[in-house]
Symmetry: C2
Subunit: 520 residues, 2 copies
């Protein structure tokens, strides 16, 4: 083989190749942060606290139990050993809970359509992604809230697909432009799947819709077996209506999803002070009790089915009764839940990174970072709502999603932590720098040290949009505005071709079979 | 005594009193957060990591030592047992370091002129405050950087005085309108002291200036004995020029301050990758080594003199060589240092809460929260630069300072943590809410529960300026802008009378003795 070969990539010369390499993003294994870094350095609960919360949750399940299971659920749960009371509530003997915890899936893989995007939930591994059911889009330039559409959802998927620090796309907003719920659910699957090869979370409104969605997913996967081997969409089941009631319809959806081979998120979203006890500890107890009931439910249907322990207690502004998600209390609720997941050894998730602010302003920044970094440091497996979420979950914002990637990059850097080794303790470098080496005097600074240069890419996370200029340089560059930069980047990301696009034949087949609202 | 008494406050009726009570701030002991909450839930270093860092620091002191001590310092240190090498460096046998750690002050009280503002530094108690040496003021409305003045400094002191979550005022900016350094230092003391009764930190340029400053402080205190009994100003000593050199002049300033009864902050501000090793661990090693040298220095002069272990390593953007303080690496540097302080059992401080952003935007919010909340959760005694600091320490912003109070309030809520008790586990409340009580059915929500109502003020931190409105309400209220609200609050705070104002006789006496630039 020579350089004369017309097909040789070397024809263009080494320089171009090096230039391309430098312009390309860092290879995954060279990146300073990535999906699945291990947290756990933060422990807001002591071991005794955890034991007390566990004990209280078991007591609640045994004595209070849950109302409103569907007939199918009553059958499934009582067959497993739960007790149906005369008051219609199902109570859970602690031995039943313990037995089901023993068989529950401890190591959930959430597949991406691209296997490189698979998430391995286990231990204290941390993953960040979107989630929610916002009904508004935040228009940053117009400072406006408008109804969210399927195009907005598709754009969010396309953007998320290209952001390194967003590891999954759970549907963050509702397609308000699709009136029919069945069509909305199917188009949600379509828009998310066409937009990203990362793992996707959706939430079906009714059990009857699941069959249609599975049919579409089998088409996208190729066939049912391929889908079942690597299900790249999971379902969020709001299977309880706190306090301590099953959500009858959502339970039926869950049964259908399990049947269809779809991983499930057992989501309990109580609000501390409204639908959950006001103290943080009590809100965690109730969320844990409800999710334990879910673990029994899932494993009674299919032992070891992949399910995520979704304790999502939210805060409340008790002065107004309005939901509040940006507070320190919220960060503690989520961090405490992460520790309960580790106690059970079951993959878990909770909400963090959402803001009460209406726009991506300074408040949004501090609120999003507070719960995001604490969730990561607590080793939360799935950090839901981690970017783009405003107005206490009512509004989603593409610019904020993009800025969230920078924000989460720094949070992940914190999760990665401090490596203490002989090399990083740097005594030798310090000695040479201060005292010199042989005849050479010490230079008195580390700027040119080999260690500094070799570690500058592997140790430091550089912001994409975050600004580090001096005031002088900033003024010379016409004082760039963070939000305007985010809008420009949004347009750039949306102009790029989608890595997840369907081939035309598949797209036509889907369109022939289903009513698809998004243009081809 | 009857209601007829003309001087009785009850004449105005109970209703007005209740109204006044409700409008007044919460009594200190009722507040959900306050100075001195205990952190330590976050441990970014393992016990082995800490031991290794300690060992490396001792080795650095023994083998590398520090250059450039002033003659007085050489005399003080060698008399204590340090060794002056032929290369002019002073090396520290580990037994000397250990002996001085044994006599060092473990429990520093930083006094406020109002004793209610005293800070008790000990264990993992956390306090937030300003600091820095910014040369610019950030004009938010004009998006402009201009030189900072003594009036700006006084205003910062007045604002800090009125913010609950700022526990001390260390001079955050330099009075660029005072050309003479002596006058600048004296006017800094004057402006800070006249602006707040919280503890104040300053930094003297030359040893000769200390006498004049002490004279002013004696006048403000009443006399020298009163000053020495409760010194309400401490001095920041940048006593080293990293790597591993004493700052000759600053050492002489330190000696004068100790002589004058002033607590000192032993500040080592290396930049990882430039004046300190690039790895986080190495930067901490060097900062610890330098501060241990400071502990020996101080305690060799006066055993047990109050000194704060000021490991302030900063980050660097290695792509440009510019300082960077808003990164995850910065948060880790600071959190790791806090653990080293606890290891030595000596009160310590470090920098957190500063931003690289030029304005109080979303980036500023996430950067300020990241390091602030991690510093608090690590149990850092003194969190310096916690509010108002922009452009990698070059710019200070009053609006950002005010918003920082909200931000730190939430960080403090996280530091307070989760109380797990029988009451907060809330099983009884859960049972009554779900199952009812006797004949009464359960209401199915917690909004009216006695527990919810009694804890709504003591458990939850409500933002002052942070927005929690629904999009609808927000639109109806003309979409209030966070920064405009902060500017309005700034004007309100600056219009209030100063709690720290000098009586006219004292002010005249100070003005007769010193050149004071601030108008009366």
């Amino acid at each position: 083989m020579t350089d004369q070969s017309p097909s040789s990539p070397r024809r263009s010369g080494g320089r171009a190749a090096r230039r391309a390499l430098r312009a390309a993003p860092l290879a995954t294994d060279k990146r300073p942060v990535h999906a699945g870094l291990r947290g756990g350095q933060l422990r807001v609960l002591s071991d005794l606290d955890i034991a007390n919360i566990h004990e209280a949750a078991l007591t609640a399940l045994e004595h209070i139990g849950l109302a409103d299971a569907p007939p199918s659920g009553i059958e499934i749960l009582t067959r497993a050993g739960a007790i149906l009371g005369e008051d219609g509530r199902i109570r859970f003997p602690r031995a039943l809970v313990e037995d089901m915890l023993a068989v529950a899936c401890k190591d959930v893989t959430l597949c991406g359509r691209d296997p490189g995007n698979d998430l391995h939930l286990q231990g204290t591994k941390v993953h960040y992604g979107t989630a929610g059911a916002a009904v508004h889009m935040v228009d940053v330039e117009g400072r406006n809230y408008r109804e969210s559409t399927v195009q907005d959802l598709y754009d969010a998927a396309r953007i998320t697909d290209q952001l390194d620090n967003l590891h999954f796309l759970q549907r963050p907003m509702v397609c308000r432009d699709i009136a029919d719920n069945y069509e909305m659910d199917l188009n949600t699957v379509y828009a998310c799947t066409r937009g990203t090869t990362k793992h996707i979370g959706v939430s079906f409104t009714e059990a009857d819709y699941v069959a249609g969605a599975l049919e579409m997913l089998h088409m996208i996967a190729g066939d049912e077996d391929t889908w079942r081997a690597r299900p790249f969409v999971s379902n969020t089941n709001c299977f309880v209506v706190p306090p301590m009631k099953f959500a009858t319809d959502a339970c039926r959806v869950m049964e259908a999803c399990i049947e269809g081979g779809m991983p499930v998120l057992l989501l309990s979203a109580g609000m501390a002070g409204a639908t959950a006890p006001s103290p943080i500890a009590g809100a965690i107890v109730q969320a844990v009790a409800e999710c334990l009931a879910g673990v029994v439910y899932v494993n009674a249907i299919k032992p070891g089915h992949p399910a995520i322990f979704g304790t999502w207690p939210f805060g409340l502004d008790l002065r107004t009764g309005a939901m509040s998600v940006g507070s320190g209390e919220q960060a503690l609720l989520t961090a405490g839940c992460a520790q309960m997941h580790h106690f059970y050894g079951i993959p878990g998730g909770a909400a963090a990174g959402a803001s009460d602010a209406k726009l991506p302003d300074m408040q949004a920044g501090w609120e999003q970072m507070c719960s995001n970094v604490m969730a990561g440091l607590s080793g939360l497996n799935m950090v839901y709502e981690a970017a783009g979420m405003h107005a206490s979950l009512l509004g989603f914002c593409h610019e904020s999603l993009i800025l969230g990637d920078d924000l989460i990059g720094q949070a992940l850097r914190c999760v990665r932590g401090i490596e203490v080794t002989e090399e990083t303790l740097a005594l030798d470098v310090m000695r040479t720098t201060c005292l010199g080496d042989g005849d050479k005097a010490g230079v008195g600074h580390y700027l040119g040290a080999a260690q500094t240069l070799t570690r500058m890419e592997s140790d430091y996370v550089y912001p994409t949009l975050g600004d580090r200029m001096s005031p002088k340089e900033w003024a010379e560059k016409d004082k760039p505005d963070l939000l305007q930069k985010a809008t420009a980047r949004k347009l750039e990301l949306l102009a790029a071709p989608s890595s997840a696009a369907f081939n035309p034949a598949l797209d036509s087949a889907i369109r022939a079979r289903f009513t698809i609202h998004l243009p081809p």
